[in-house]
């Protein structure tokens, strides 16, 4: 039992170490494409109009 425990611990540590070293994480969902208007217009990122017409983020 303890042998299995320590072997499984080694596996978990290896997974934890790898996830930390390579930045693996749970998915935040797919990347969305932002409309060209929002990207090119001055203040487009800030503008509710441009932001929410080209990309609807948030809730």
């Amino acid at each position: 039992m303890r042998k299995f425990y320590w072997l499984s611990n080694l596996g978990v540590m290896a997974l934890y170490g790898s996830a930390s070293a390579f930045g693996w994480g749970f998915s935040d969902g797919p990347r969305e494409k932002l409309s060209a208007d929002a990207r090119t217009s001055p203040g487009g990122y800030r503008s509710y109009h441009f932001w929410h017409s080209g990309f609807r983020g948030g809730k």
């Binding site: 930045g23 990347r31 969305e32």
Partner: protein, 652 residues
């Protein structure tokens, strides 16, 4: 050397040692004492019962650098049966040593002048002896009869007289006897010794002819069954394996003591079977069933008596199909208390106190065992070991024996049924269904195992944070202005009348590959909430990774006292993104939008994700947590068998 003629038979006798007081005439077996002017016959002594002793009169050796020679020997019969030998060692420096031999163990002692020895009646078995400079415990007190003698003896041994004594035990093998046979008690002190410590003349010892009492293959006086004795010189009682009768075995003769109507429990280990313990082959010579009554319930167990010439007697005890190997201890090796007993640096917890009664016997026993014989026992446990204490007491008689008693400590070591099965080459043994009193807890040690697992997780976390340090992205104080009610977010699908101003956009920043992004918001919310809609925008291709960060913190007081829920801070981790230039957009909503709100936003690239730390900790702790629960369930099962049930050990 002084030579003379025996005053009884006229045969020549020799006093080879100038300080010897008595010699047993080799011709007529009279005990001849050397008085000032003449010799006196103190009476005839019986012939010695030959034993397997490695000692013999005339044997020489060295003890503590001093040479000695064994000149005489006496055999004393214990009030409860059993015979032990006393050898008399004449040392070159004119001292006499008393070398006692009992059950394969040897004790060398010397007379010492100790004033004001306590009276015999004031001594209590198991209690320390008052007035002595060295702490000594009374292990036994009683009387023994001089049954036989031979050779030269340093005192006036009167045949058939009774020696009244108290045996004392001290730490580090210290052994002492107070002899109360004369008006003035005499103190003898010494130690338990091994044959190697006596540096015996090897040639003489080996040359000693093998003598055994020739009573093997005698018939049982009740059923006629053939009985073979395996320790004939020590055997006092025999339980006939054929009819179950209890036989007395004294001086080579059997006599029927008790014919039983039915045979008792049969042994799992056959009498005569051999197994190795302590590196010595030992033979099963006796089997006994005992019982005790605790809170109205009768519990039974069986004991097997093992014998070897090298070790003397040992026991194998079987209780509820659990086995333990038991060996005797010196009384002073154990320090008893009310709840605990201490031995060899270990603490043993009191487990059971009960009178143990003999139910049936088979085979040979070295004391005058009787069916129904009862002794007071106490057990203390420190798995896998058990300390057992047996107290015996007996009344005096009109033959000069004083009342007496004995305390005997023994140490049991748990042995698995599988090991017993292997040692005795048995097909199968019944498996235990309960937890044994001194059975080792198989779930012991999970706590420390868990601690090591947790330490490993933290060590790895520290190592990772050193190898892959955090890289700051920004550390920004953000303030969102108050929003008029009309500026709140409109219904889905419709465009709001006025653009929201509760948006913050970071300066462009560079992200490295293979590192997570940590976003932490620190607010001073008070009974309120705040929602942040975030977006990580890849400037090179316009791809957006949205995320949310909701923070709420409420607190108050009710009939149960003060309460709080949520936190003023919140964080979010984004998996590693491709390296490149990014911008972060934060759009805020909060409960009281008519009022401005400010918060602190910190973003950094990091290798440590608290969720992963938590998951790793959960994994390394789940097994120990189950193990600890099972450990306590095991201990609960153990202590449910104890009269002190309800408590359990916690020395994990």
């Amino acid at each position: 050397m002084t030579t003379a003629n025996c005053p009884t038979c006229g045969g020549p006798i020799e006093f080879k040692i100038g300080s010897s007081f008595l010699v047993v005439c080799p011709h007529c077996r009279s005990a001849i004492a050397r008085l000032d002017r003449d010799l006196k016959d103190l009476g005839k002594v019986a012939a010695l019962v030959e034993t397997d002793s490695p000692l013999t009169i005339g044997l020489s050796g060295k003890y503590n650098g001093k040479s000695f020679r064994l000149t005489g020997r006496a055999q004393l019969r214990h009030a409860l049966g059993g015979v032990w030998d006393e050898w008399y060692a004449a040392f070159d420096d004119n001292r006499w040593g008393w070398l006692a031999e009992a059950q394969g163990r040897f004790y060398m002692s010397f007379e010492e002048a100790v004033p004001d020895l306590p009276a015999f009646d004031s001594l209590a078995v198991g209690e320390p002896v008052p007035k002595l400079k060295i702490p000594l415990i009374v292990s036994e007190k009683g009387g023994a009869k001089y049954a036989s003698a031979d050779g030269e003896i340093p005192y006036a041994l009167v045949p058939d007289s009774t020696s009244i004594y108290a045996d004392l035990s001290g730490e580090h093998g210290l052994f002492a006897t107070i002899d109360y046979s004369d008006e003035k008690p005499v103190f003898y002190a010494g130690k338990e010794v091994t044959l190697a410590q006596l540096s015996l003349d090897a040639g003489a010892a080996q040359a000693k002819p093998e003598k055994r009492v020739a009573i093997t293959n005698l018939g049982c006086p009740n059923c006629g069954g053939s009985l073979e004795l395996r320790a004939p010189d020590a055997t006092e009682r025999v339980g006939c394996p054929y009819c179950g009768s209890l036989l007395d075995c004294t001086q080579g003769k059997f006599s029927l003591l008790q014919a039983l109507k039915k045979k008792g429990e049969q042994p799992l280990l056959q009498l005569g079977s051999v197994a190795e313990f302590e590196g010595v082959k030992q033979i099963v010579i006796g089997f006994m069933k005992r019982s005790c009554v605790v809170e109205g319930a009768t519990y039974y167990w069986t004991e097997y008596l093992l014998y070897s010439k090298a070790l003397g007697f040992r026991w194998l005890v079987r209780s509820d199909n659990h086995w333990s190997y038991v060996k005797p201890l010196q009384t002073a090796q154990v320090r008893p208390g009310d709840k605990f007993a201490y031995f060899a640096g270990k603490t043993f917890k009191r487990f059971q106190d009960a009178p143990a009664k003999v139910e049936s016997v088979l085979g040979e026993f070295y004391w005058k065992v009787t069916i129904g014989e009862t002794v007071a026992t106490s057990d203390f446990i420190c798995p896998p070991q058990m300390l057992s204490c047996e107290r015996t007491s007996y009344a005096g008689d009109d033959k000069g024996h004083p009342g007496g008693g004995e305390i005997a400590w023994s140490l049991g070591e748990y042995i698995s049924p599988d090991e017993i099965q292997t040692k005795f080459k048995l097909a199968a043994l019944p498996s235990p269904q309960t937890v044994g009193a001194c059975q080792p807890n198989p779930h012991q040690g999970w706590f420390m195992t868990g601690v090591k697992g947790v330490a490993a997780v933290f060590a790895l976390t520290i190592a990772l944070s050193i190898i892959f340090p955090s890289d700051p992205i920004f550390d920004q104080e953000i303030k969102f202005e108050a929003q008029p009610a009309a500026k709140t977010v409109s219904a889905a699908g419709s465009e709001p009348a006025v653009e929201s101003t509760s948006v913050w956009v970071s300066e462009p920043f560079e992200l490295k590959a293979h590192k997570k992004i940590s976003i932490e918001a620190k607010t001073n919310l008070d009974n309120s909430w705040m929602g942040l809609e975030g977006a990580l925008i890849d400037e090179t291709n316009g791809e957006v990774l949205p995320f949310e960060l909701d923070i709420e913190y409420y607190h108050g007081t009710d009939s149960d006292g003060s309460w709080s829920e949520g936190s003023q801070d919140g964080s979010h981790y984004i998996a590693a993104q491709p390296a490149g230039k990014y911008v972060m957009r934060i759009e805020g909503h909060w409960e009281r939008m008519a009022q401005p709100i400010s918060f602190h936003l910190v973003a950094e690239q990091t290798s440590i994700d608290p969720v992963y730390v938590f998951l790793a900790l959960f994994w390394v702790m789940i097994f120990p947590a189950i193990g600890i629960v099972r450990k306590f369930m095991f201990e609960s099962g153990r202590w449910s068998e104890s009269m002190y049930g309800g408590s359990s050990s916690s020395d994990d």
